[in-house]
Each structure stands twice: as structure tokens, then as C-alpha cells.
Amino acid sequence: MDVAVILMPSETSLTESNPLILDSLPDLSLNDGGCPRRARLQIDLMLLAIEALYLGGAEEMLAVSKELELESIIKNRVAFWLMRNTNPLRRYTQRRSLTVVEAKALVAIACNMARKLTATIRQLLQDSQQLRSRNVPLNQNLLLFEYLERFRAHFRSRMNPKRSVVVAYDSDEKLNELALNLLSKLLFCTGTAGMQRFWVSLFDGEVE
């Protein structure tokens, strides 16, 4: 708490090796260099929610990584897949951890995609709010229904059903809840400081 990180991009923080966009994210001190478990989980789930929002989202993510000049970190489709599979809940989860630079790259992609989808995200959240306040089932809204259905399908096909965390999401309602929760977090990623907020939130309670 005694070290305040000021998130203004400054000349001194620029390094040549890393893409410029990642310089706005502070390097948070971690003892072993890898990302904490919750961060790996959260990043992958956010990307999963984006895929559910947007057909062809996975392809778009690779395109965005080129756009943001992150090719040096995400070299190809397989590397991207392996990075996302550091999520401990995945069926094909990787033993290795996610390096801080890789995590920053994924966060940058997620936030960039989220910003492009701002209108959809806001609309879905407002619709779900209205449906809830009137006690109408969420699947009455077609867009919302599609998003939730796709999210559930993605989650069930990619997560390891033997993990206790995954077992906890055994019903459609619980997965819908998770999908909406991720959607509102995606909304916060769309803001002016959304990327920094998302990045720093991944390390809450994880740093010394």
C-alpha cells in the first residue's frame, strides 16, 4: 500500500522491447514472476465472454493482437491457445504459468475488444436489468438469450468438468449469473482507464 503506482504514461517507463500499449500497465511485484491463479482464470473467462458476445471472436482477437503490435508476444494461433490454457479450469490446462508480459497482452486484447463491443455490452446489461426488475426470465430477450446460450456452451465444452469450481456451475442459472457478471466487468474494461483498472484488479490480494 505504501507504493502508489501512477498510471500516467511517462517517458521513463518506455522500453523498446515491449509494445507501447503495455507500458500503461504497471509491473506489479510478484515473487515468482508468473501470474496468480485468479488472474489466469479471470483473463480467460473474460475472453470467453467476448467470444460469446461476438461470433468469430477468437479470430478477431488474433487480428487485434496484430493491430496492437503484440506479435512478438503472441506469435501465432497455437501460442495464443496455449496462453489461454494457463487457466487452471481448462480441460487442456497448461502446467506453465502465464508471464506478466503475456498477461498484459491478453488484457490489452480483451479491453480493446470490449471497447469495440461497448454498445452491445451496455445494451445487454440494461436489458437484463429491466428483465430482472420485472421478474421476467432472461431468455425472453433474444440477444441476451443468444449471449447466455453461447457462453454456457463455450464454458461447458472447454472447462474441465472434474474441477470442483466447474462442478459448482452445474446449472444454467449459475452459468447465466457468471456470464452476466463477466459482462459487467467487461463494461468496466471499456472505460478510459478500463485496461488499468482490469489489470490492477487481477492482483488484488495477491501482492505483498
Partner: protein
């Protein structure tokens, strides 16, 4: 000249009014720097009156909202994220989709020059989208370097230490309590389970009474010294002499077993089988070449076992019955020294019947002599 800055979003707008301190540097800019805040107004849709206040209110608002946004994203609750809260503005989670913003009256004696409208406390319930608009308005203000430049977005993750202390003691000690109590339960359960008795397979001659019986057993085939007082154990063998029955030779003799304390499964049965072999159903192996071969096998087996055992101190003589495949199916002590010895060197070589061996198996008998020098002599019986 009053400067007015407005940050507008669909559900929320933030209006700041203030003055420039008029320093020379700021005059050169197109937009002068708003460095002295006079009033701040926060309009939220659904709320008739805006939330208004002075610098204290505004600082408290931006801190509370920024901190709560982080809490919302990480799910980690820590109220005093950025130092001691000014506590004029507070945000609490009601459920996943609504958030309560509370503005408390400014602390008495505070020297704010702002109109007293803010002294009324206000409670607003915000939806997530409204909350986001408020956060975004504040982030836009932070990003604006021409408005209160000394206030900037400061984000730091919460330290582990604060998370631990934030959890109540009962919650923290729960895992330990569960662990200790389950250990106690397991200990009690195991206490009730009886200690299993270890039953080691014994030798045919471990105890005096068993040895006596063995001594008294007549050897119809070999020794030719009929005992005038046959023991009950011998009774089981004698009928076998006259009426060769496969059942009597293959299985442990029902009369013999209750008498001996040794394990009925392993040792007595091959013994009786082996000893009964010459005159009974079992046909002795007569082929000289085969006997020679079996002798070699037997010597090899005995040598293998004897290697890591100390040499015997007196001569031991055994009569050993060997099956066609070289397996030792039975043996018998032939001199007093061997009888007295509780554990024969052969015991571990003894063939343990798995399933049933053919009852009338051809057998060859050998005389095995363990000499004190460590040598072993094997000769056909």
C-alpha cells in the same frame, strides 16, 4: 473567471466549477488549468437533485467510487483501499447488479465554504451501468490534466496482509478446526478397529509336540523301521498305503490336521504327500537321467538360499521330495539335529501349492545333508 468543466455520460454527468490560479504557464494553454475547485455537481439519472459539494465531497467521491470499481472487478472487499477514507461518500454492494451510494453530512467544523445543501445526506441506488458511467466520468476527469492536476488515478492492488486480517477470526480458524476434529474422529474410529494378529507360516517342526509326531511317523517307503505305536498322524497315512486315493494324498489329511499346530495349508500336505509317495499313488521317478537332472536343480536351489545364511554348526539330514518340475513338494528332518532346529534352511524353498497339484504326481526323493563346513551334499534316496 470561473472555469466550468463537464464530463457527461448517458447516466451520469459531473460538473466542476472553479478558478485558475493564474500562473503564467497555464495562461499559455488553450484551456486554463482549473486548480481551485469551488463546487462539484454529480447528476445521476433517476435522482432529481444532483449531489453537490465542495472539494472534500469531491475528493471523497472520487476515492470511494474508484476504490469500489476495483472492488467490483476483483471481488476483493477492502474498504480503506486508499488510506483513511474521508467517509463522506460510501459505496456498498446490495447485490450483483445494484450498488448503494451514500453521501453523509460533512463532519462538523469542517471549513468548507460550500453552500450547505450538501449537508443533507443522500442515498442513491445505482445499477451497474449507472455505476460504470459514474466511474467513467471520474476516470475522464482523472485523465484531464487541465483540471485539478494534483488529483490523478492511483490504482494499487490490495496487499495479501490486508486480506488476511480482513477475514474474521472464526472464518480463518475454520479449516484448522475442521482438520483437527476430523483427525480426532479418525483416531477414534481406528481405536475401535482390532489390531490384526500376525500369523506367520510355521515350519513343520516348530514345537516339541509336532516334532514328536513327525519322529513317530513311520516311513513306509524308506527307513523301514516300523513304529510299534503309530500316532494318530500316521493313521492318516497308513490307509493311503493300502487304498491309494487321490483325495487323501492331494488334500491335507482330515485326521492329521487337527493334531498339528502347523498351518494346514502349506507344510503338512506336501509332507504327507511326499512321504507317501514311494508306496502310494505317487509313482517314484525311476529314470536315472531325470533323477540326475532333478538333483542338479535341487542343489542349485539350495545353494541359492544358503548363500546368504550362516553355516550350520551340526550336520543336518533331510529327506526331500521333488516333483518332476524340480519343485520341492515336501521335506522331512532325518536326524535329531535337524529335528531340533526350528527353521530348516529348506523352508523357504518349499513349493506353496497354488490351486491343486496333480494328486498322483511322480516324485523323486533325495537325501540332503548340510555339513557344518557349509557344504551341501545331495544324493538320491
Amino acid at each position: 473567471m470561473t472555469i466550468r468543466r463537464q464530463y457527461s455520460l448517458p447516466n451520469c454527468s459531473l460538473v466542476l466549477e472553479g478558478l485558475s490560479d493564474g500562473s503564467a504557464a497555464s495562461q499559455l494553454d488553450m484551456r486554463p488549468v482549473l486548480s481551485i475547485l469551488m463546487s462539484a455537481e454529480c447528476y445521476v439519472t433517476g435522482l432529481g437533485e444532483p449531489l453537490t459539494g465542495g472539494r472534500e465531497f469531491f475528493e471523497s467521491l472520487v476515492r470511494a467510487v474508484s476504490s469500489y470499481a476495483q472492488e467490483f472487478m476483483s471481488g476483493v472487499h477492502y474498504p480503506d483501499r486508499y488510506g483513511p477514507n474521508l467517509s463522506m461518500v460510501q459505496l456498498h454492494r446490495i447485490d450483483g447488479n445494484s450498488h448503494r451510494l451514500t453521501v453523509l453530512p460533512a463532519s462538523t467544523g469542517s471549513t468548507t465554504q460550500i453552500d450547505q445543501k450538501t449537508e443533507l445526506s443522500a442515498v442513491v441506488d445505482l445499477t451497474t451501468v449507472q455505476l460504470f458511467d459514474l466511474v467513467e466520468a471520474i476516470d475522464q476527469f482523472f485523465a484531464d490534466t487541465q483540471t485539478l492536476p494534483e488529483l490523478s488515478l492511483q490504482l494499487t492492488p490490495i496487499s495479501k496482509r490486508y486480506i488476511k486480517s480482513a477475514e474474521p477470526l472464526a472464518q480463518r480458524s475454520l479449516p484448522a478446526v475442521v482438520g483437527v476434529s476430523s483427525l480426532a474422529l479418525a483416531a477414534m474410529a481406528f481405536f475401535l478397529v482390532p489390531v490384526p494378529e500376525v500369523q506367520r507360516p510355521r515350519d513343520p517342526v516348530p514345537q516339541p509336540n509336532a516334532a514328536g509326531q513327525n519322529l513317530g511317523t513311520p516311513n513306509p517307503g524308506g527307513s523301514g523301521s516300523p513304529n510299534p505305536n503309530p500316532t494318530p498322524a500316521a493313521d492318516g497315512l497308513l490307509p493311503g498305503d493300502k487304498t491309494p486315493s487321490p483325495a487323501a494324498t492331494g488334500e491335507p489329511s482330515p485326521l492329521a490336521t487337527p493334531q498339528s499346530n502347523t498351518s494346514p495349508e502349506s507344510t503338512p500336505s506336501p509332507l504327507s504327500e511326499g512321504l507317501a509317495s514311494p508306496g502310494a499313488a505317487a509313482v517314484p521317478i525311476t529314470d536315472v537321467a531325470e533323477i540326475e537332472l532333478l538333483k542338479g536343480k535341487l542343489s542349485q536351489q539350495i545353494d541359492g538360499v544358503l548363500k546368504n545364511k550362516p553355516a550350520v554348526d551340526t550336520e543336518l539330514v533331510y529327506r526331500v521330495s521333488v516333483g518332476k518340475d524340480g519343485a520341492i513338494v515336501g521335506y522331512k528332518s532325518e536326524n535329531s539335529a535337524a529335528v531340533a532346529r526350528s527353521e530348516a534352511p529348506l523352508s523357504e524353498l518349499l513349493y506353496k501349492p497354488v490351486g491343486t497339484r496333480p494328486p498322483a504326481e511322480p516324485l523323486a526323493d533325495f537325501r540332503v545333508v548340510f555339513a557344518p563346513g557349509g557344504t551341501v551334499v545331495v544324493t538320491p534316496w
